[in-house]
């Protein structure tokens, strides 16, 4: 099954580029990604620019309306994601726990829908 690990964090709680923890934090990310790849569970993974760069759009009555900012204002923002291929939820949770941001914010794990039977 495919699982998506959505990485949430409050910017003020995560290491910033100026901080002392930033170097080890990024190294930990590199190590985690390497591990995911080596174990063959990594499908995809990206980090996102901070939420001030986000644009949200809706189509209403055929018209595109855009708005500045993320969909929902909350302290914790979506900062990146991984997609894993795992046998079950426990395995996905095990890998998600290795994501360095889990120590600072939260990681939401959700199965990716399988539409293969709809064709």
């Amino acid at each position: 099954m495919k699982y998506m690990a959505l990485i949430y964090g409050a910017p003020e709680d995560s290491p910033t580029p100026e901080s002392e923890e930033f170097g080890p934090f990024m190294e930990a990310y590199a190590a985690a990604s390497e591990r995911f790849e080596k174990d063959g569970v990594l499908v995809a993974g990206e980090g996102l620019e901070d939420d001030s760069t986000a644009t949200t759009l809706r189509v209403r009555n055929g018209k595109v309306e855009t708005m500045d900012g993320p969909f929902a204002e909350s302290k914790e923002q979506l900062g990146g994601f991984y997609i894993f291929e795992c046998a079950n939820l426990d395995e996905a949770l095990r890998y998600a726990a290795m994501i360095p941001s889990a120590t600072y914010g939260a990681v939401e794990v959700r199965p990716v829908s399988d539409y293969s039977d709809l064709e």
Binding site: M1, A87, L89, D90, D114, S116, D117
Partner: protein, 415 residues
């Protein structure tokens, strides 16, 4: 509709319902489908067995029929293609299944099911409800009553939990030893709740022996699975010690008999001996926890020659340790009872007033208070406390018990 086999099927469901459902969930890997298919099979049994008598292996017959019903349901369903792997597996199972030769068609799948229900990705309350429903075969209405919820709300929660298990890919297995930690705690809690639901049923009959037996069986299974885990041993010992007294807990009229009035010569000494051995082994490991401590208290009761000669000071001290590990108003209440015998009823009553706020709507609090007031001779206040306890009683037997006490102690003195 009345048929001659109806009562026999009811008895079968009562005895083996949970085991059959566990087995079916193992085969079908879908809680809802397993439950629906078993229901289909039971309806079929009602018709077929009435016509041609009970089959040689009723459980085997029901399992095989349920599997075929599941195959039918999958074939008819909209997401037929996504289920094709399950369908193939089920058809193969159906081909290999020999109901008559198979002596015990239910290998023990219940532990896997419990671990699945107790997955940390599910809320603890729902874990208990799901276990009671799937493993112990309690009806949704019964569970709803125990949780003080409407049956509709409980049914909805159960559906949501089953949906999550299926969709989130929660594995149907006993995890590797390193994945036990928090899950073992939930598993033990669930087993103890099942035992308690049997020991002091929240509704209907006062005692449901089959649930106690089931809980003890499950406790033994976990014990086999992880020997040397002191809290597992503690829980097993605790359940055995309570169970050893079960045949003295009800009087001739089905009324509750408390520890004080129980005929100690009728306690199951063999079971107590087994519990003692298990508990001693656990305590030697030097990691005392909640279940071990409670088992030690039960052991002191088991060893006391009479209620009056119980070592109440020791019991009060162990409640101190329990409260230190887990602050809990029910432990506080029990400590008050121990202190009332170890020190005095007067001192106990003072302590009781201090924990009162948390237990205002808890029946035993008022019953204990009434008892203490009787011992102190304040019959008017005792009468009022009894009335309050009676109003809060869940079962008829409990109510009768309290009403008898009220009559016995306050017959003349109370206003």
């Amino acid at each position: 509709m009345t048929t001659s086999v109806g009562p026999e099927i009811d008895a079968l469901v009562r005895r083996d319902g949970g085991r059959m459902l566990s087995r079916l969930v193992a085969d079908i890997r879908d809680f809802q489908l397993a439950e629906d298919s078993l229901q289909d099979a039971l309806e079929a049994a009602l018709v077929h067995w009435d016509r041609s008598g009970l089959p040689r292996s009723p459980v085997g017959w029901l399992l095989q029929t349920a599997r075929r019903k599941a195959i039918d349901r999958i074939r008819r369903s909209a997401n037929f293609r996504s289920k094709s792997a399950e369908l193939t597996a089920l058809i193969e199972l159906d081909r290999d299944f020999e109901p008559v030769i198979d002596a015990d068609p239910i290998a023990d799948e219940r532990l896997k099911l419990i671990f699945t229900c107790c997955h940390p990705a599910l809320a603890p309350r729902i874990s208990v409800a799901l276990t009671l429903r799937s493993v112990c075969g309690l009806k949704t209405e019964e569970i709803a009553r125990a949780f003080v919820m409407s049956p509709e709300a409980m049914a909805q929660r159960l559906v949501r939990a089953r949906h999550k298990i299926a969709k989130a890919g929660i594995a149907y297995e006993v995890p590797e030893a390193d994945g036990w930690g928090e899950r073992l705690q939930s598993v033990l809690a669930v087993i103890y709740l099942v035992f308690n639901e049997g020991y002091a049923a929240s509704s209907g009959e006062l005692v449901r022996g089959e649930l106690c037996d089931e809980a003890i069986r499950l406790g033994r299974l976990v014990h086999q699975l992880c020997p040397g885990e002191p809290e597992v041993e503690g829980l097993l010992a605790l359940m055995l010690l309570h169970h050893a007294r079960s045949n003295t807990r009800l009087g001739l009229a089905g009324e509750l008999v408390t520890l004080e009035g129980q005929d100690r010569t009728q306690w199951d000494r063999e079971m107590i001996g087994e519990a003692r051995e298990i508990l001693q082994g656990a305590l030697r490991r030097g990691r005392a926890g909640l279940y071990q401590l409670q088992a030690v208290i039960a052991m002191i009761h088991a060893d006391a020659p009479s209620f009056a000669e119980t070592d109440w000071t020791e019991i009060a001290l162990i409640y101190d340790s329990l409260i230190a590990v887990e602050p809990n108003p029910v432990f506080e209440l029990n400590r008050v009872v121990a202190l009332s015998y170890a020190v005095s009823a007067e001192m106990a009553l003072k302590r009781l007033e201090r924990v009162g706020a948390a237990l205002e709507s808890y029946q035993p609090y008022h019953a204990v208070r009434a008892d203490l007031l009787v011992r102190l001779g304040d019959m008017t206040a005792a009468g009022a406390a009894f009335e309050r306890a009676i109003a809060l009683s869940g079962s008829a037997a409990e109510r009768r018990f309290l009403e008898n006490k009220l009559r016995a102690f306050c017959g003349q003195g109370c206003t």
